[in-house]
């Protein structure tokens, strides 16, 4: 009998295993595939290698602004793929070593609940006092006539040795936006279409708009608020028909989409009596406990923000609770990120959400365009926006578009976690010149005394 069995060895399962072991649990980690999950093998990490390649190209192409005349002789995609594989396997090996180091037993195979107290792995039955479900998510191909033949999954895209000359990316989430960024930079003709009216619909409207402009500047054609109705082959290409008054059609070599659904199937959830939410994710309360006592769920399988840091943060809470503590998980402190050029990151409520909650909302904003570092390095797109409640100065949300947005958002997370009011944020001091000055300046603007903006 184990103290804790964790199902799934992605970033969520891994962190839960280590944290449980740190609390002296006897831990088993069940994984059908390879350790590292989506994030390490098919997600965050691989796509960052590709984005770095694209960014390097972008900098070389912009080098002329700094007097450097450089010519790109060619792009060797095989090297990108090999580097990507290398990084993934280094991280995976590190994770495997640490699991061993902490005495976590890795059980190879698919874990299926037989009852609330037992799981089956390859026909053998195992028991634990507590369970943590961390089975992640999988790609769910939308049911669109003809799409299958034209489909390029993100898994395939990350292994491409030749990029399609033209591609339709269907969807407006972070993964789609990053894919559009990469393909476009490497010369594919990219069209991005989505049913939602704006990019990153979960984000503040201003962020969506800034990102849309940036993607257009990169050369991406956007069709927002339009549904992909059908895909028809013509020769080596496909004609994609979108809904909408003008019924536009787009001819491309490939269609990429990446919607993800929680992995709740073939897991025996019904045998354990674990309930799902309406969106198909596993229902978990603020302690990350499912509808069954002693069974916790974390990461993509519980929905919310389907990102890696959410999974690993939930893992800590769930592991501590499984080991007898009672920690609440702060869903409102989970930041969100996308690595486009420029990056987009946020935490907390958007301006619109805050207004809908009937709060006394005010915003402060500071554009990168007048930040010293941004001007020096010629990266001037973007802004930092602070949404706060006028009454007590409570910071409700922070929305950043711009270089290093995903690093900067950490400042906002700390501020919100420790309940700084906008006044504490405004009183901060940062090294000059850095992008981080923007966060302080946005808070000062919120209070009406930004030093580098015209008098209000």
């Amino acid at each position: 009998m184990y103290d804790v069995i964790i199902i799934g060895g992605g970033p969520g399962g891994y962190a839960a295993a280590i944290r449980s072991a740190q609390l002296d649990a006897g831990v088993a980690l069940v994984e059908t595939d390879i350790i590292g999950g989506t994030c390490v093998n098919r997600g965050c990490i691989p796509i960052k290698v590709w984005l770095r390649a694209a960014d390097t190209l972008r900098r070389i192409q912009g080098a002329g602004d700094f007097g450097i005349r450089a010519k790109v002789e060619g792009i060797d995609f095989q090297t990108i793929v090999e580097r990507k594989n290398g990084v993934s396997s280094d991280i995976r090996m590190g994770m495997e070593a640490l699991l061993g180091n902490y005495g976590v037993e890795v059980l190879k195979g698919r874990g299926v609940f037989k009852s609330p107290g037992e799981i089956d792995i390859n026909g053998a039955v195992y028991q634990a006092k507590k369970y943590i479900i961390a089975t992640g998510s999988r790609m769910a191909v939308p049911d669109i006539p003809g799409l299958k033949d034209a489909l390029l999954t993100t898994d395939q895209a990350l292994d491409l040795q030749n990029l399609p000359a033209s591609i339709l990316i269907y969807g407006a989430g972070p993964i789609e936006v990053e894919m559009a960024t990469i393909f476009c930079r490497f010369g594919s003709k990219v069209t991005l279409a989505a049913q939602t009216r704006r990019l990153l619909p979960r984000e503040d409207q201003d962020s969506s708009q800034r990102l849309a402009q940036a993607l257009r500047d990169e050369g991406v054609t956007l069709f927002l608020g339009q549904k992909l109705e059908s895909v028809k082959p013509v020769g080596n290409e496909f004609i994609c028909s979108l809904s909408g008054s003008k019924n536009p059609t787009i001819t491309v070599e490939k269609v990429l989409c990446a919607p993800r659904l929680p992995n709740t199937q073939n897991l025996g959830l019904e045998n354990a009596g674990i309930l799902l939410d309406e969106d198909g994710s596993v229902r978990a309360d603020d302690f990350l406990q499912t509808s069954v006592e002693g069974i916790y769920a974390i990461g993509d399988v519980v929905g919310h923000t389907m990102q890696s840091h959410a999974a690993s943060a939930m893992a800590i809470t769930a592991a501590e609770n499984a080991m007898g503590q009672s920690k609440l998980f702060s869903f409102n402190l989970v930041p969100r990120g996308a690595w486009s050029f420029p990056e987009v990151a946020s935490v907390g409520l958007t301006e619109e959400e805050a207004e809908n909650q009937d709060l006394d909302v005010t915003v402060g904003e500071f554009p990168y365009a007048i930040n010293g570092l941004a001007m020096s390095v010629n990266e001037m797109k973007g802004s930092v926006k602070v949404v706060f409640d006028e009454r007590y100065g409570k910071i409700l949300g922070v929305h950043i578009v711009g270089p290093n947005a995903n690093e900067l958002i950490g400042e906002a997370v700390v501020a919100m976690q420790f309940e700084y009011t906008v006044a504490e944020l405004a009183a901060g001091i940062r090294v000059h010149p850095t992008f981080s000055e923007n966060v302080v300046d946005a808070a000062r603007d919120a209070l009406g005394w930004a030093l580098y903006l015209p008098k209000r």
């Binding site: 609390l23 309360d285 302690f287 006592e293 080991m323 007898g324 503590q325 009672s326 920690k327 609440l328 009454r391 007590y392 100065g393 409570k394 420790f418 309940e419 700084y420 009011t421 006044a423 504490e424």
Partner: protein
């Protein structure tokens, strides 16, 4: 490393609990997994066990109302850590040891400090509070020294202030137009005892009111022969081994009710907003009073269980109820309730539905009565049934039909096969 002892959340709705007692005085050694404190909610009492071995350092005195996730004390690994704790969280050791369960009150005193009884003892001491909490406290003229913090390390956070703002304070000014005090006269009523409406009493108080206030409750009453059930029970109990649990009338009733519910699913439902939710599962609760007020432990999926199993589970639930060790899971989430007043010589009554369920069956005593059968007066054991249901969603006829199905099974238990 110092380990925090916090109040666990024992159920979805739990917000506070009473810290009944500490098992150890300050500085005593507790073993890992050993009980360190006892808390009591309005539904259950719960033993908090120490996750680690170490020296106990209580911060919140026994008898205090505490909030979920509040830190009530610490476990230090060694004397050195204990000394640090004493510095960081000074408490009057004497106070804690003397505090006991029978200390009156036990209400969350919104103005009393969490750690000690001496208000204002934090003067000159650093109060740890988030900037937002400070600002809110200032805005509302709250004294931070008197507010218990539930953040990391006992830090006062926004939620602590919100909690105080949300609840009406006891010290709230009295209404301006206060009724004049009645003149002292020989007819004036004097109070013999004041019983605070709290704990289980408060839950019953609220639930009863909610039930009648929400539903249109109709009670149908009938009487049936208990002969078949008596024979059935005797026959089975006679063939049981001495160590097997004897079956009770309640167990037979639970089974019969569960089977009747299966045939009349509408009775096994709840109203949720604009929706009638007919439940798939049939969880029958049996109301009982083990001296601490009314509780209703459930037999889950009673329709799928044998009468023997039901009898056994009931026995276990009663034992647990007596020992006060029922878990919340055993008390929540029923779909129908049975209540039996037979032991008190009651026949017919009007039970109140156990909200949010939609029906409840009241059982009277089994009593021998003259009864006309085939034009002859015979003596027969009879039992009265009172079915109350929510007339908003269950019409009279379907309610009566449910009762009919049930009475047939009681009169002829073989129909349960």
């Amino acid at each position: 490393m110092v380990t925090e002892i916090t109040i666990p959340k024992l159920g979805l709705t739990m917000e506070e609990a009473k810290l009944v007692k500490w098992s150890f005085d300050m500085g005593r050694t507790v073993a890992a997994k050993q009980m360190v404190a006892l808390i009591e909610t309005d539904k259950v009492s719960f033993e908090i066990v120490s996750p680690v071995k170490g020296l106990v350092y209580p911060v919140v005195p026994a008898g205090t109302m505490v909030l979920v996730a509040q830190i009530i004390g610490y476990i230090a690994t060694d004397e050195a850590e204990l000394a640090i704790l004493q510095k960081e969280h000074p408490v009057d050791a004497g106070v804690i040891v003397e505090q006991s369960e029978d200390k009156p009150g036990g209400k969350l005193d919104k103005t009393a400090p969490a750690a000690t009884d001496t208000a204002g003892s934090k003067v000159g001491e650093r109060i740890i509070a988030s900037p937002l909490a400070r600002r809110m406290a200032k805005d509302h003229d709250l004294d931070l020294a008197k507010i218990p913090g539930t953040g990391p390390g006992g830090r006062i956070v926004e939620a602590d202030i919100q909690k105080i703002l949300a609840a009406p304070t006891q010290a709230a000014p009295a209404p301006i137009s206060k009724a004049p005090a009645p003149e002292e006269s020989e007819f004036a009523l004097t109070v013999a005892e004041e019983i605070p409406i709290q704990g289980i009493r408060k839950v019953i108080f609220q639930n009863m009111h909610l039930s009648l206030n929400t539903q249109a409750q109709l009670t149908l009453q009938t009487e049936v022969s208990a002969k078949g059930m008596q024979d059935f029970r005797n026959r089975i109990n006679n063939i049981l081994d001495p160590d097997e649990t004897k079956i009770s009338y309640n167990a037979i009733m639970i089974k019969a009710v569960a089977l009747a519910l299966r045939q009349h699913p509408r009775v096994n439902s709840s109203v949720d907003g604009e929706m009638i939710k007919v439940w798939k599962q049939i969880h029958v609760g049996a109301a009982m009073d083990v001296g601490k007020g009314l509780i209703v432990p459930k037999i889950r999926n009673a329709d799928t269980k044998s009468i023997m199993t039901i009898a056994k589970e009931m026995g276990q639930l009663v034992d647990k109820a007596k020992q006060n060790t029922l878990s919340l899971d055993e008390l929540q989430g029923g779909t129908f309730t049975i209540t039996n007043l037979g032991a008190w010589g009651i026949d017919h009554f009007t039970p109140i539905v156990n909200f949010p369920e939609s029906a409840i069956l009241g059982l009277g005593r089994i009593v021998e009565k003259p009864w006309v059968k085939n034009s002859e007066v015979v003596v027969e054991p009879r039992i009265a049934l009172s079915l109350t249901f929510d007339h908003r969603i269950i019409d009279g006829a379907p309610g009566a039909m449910f009762l009919k199905t049930l009475t047939r099974m009681i009169e002829e238990p073989l129909l349960m096969l």
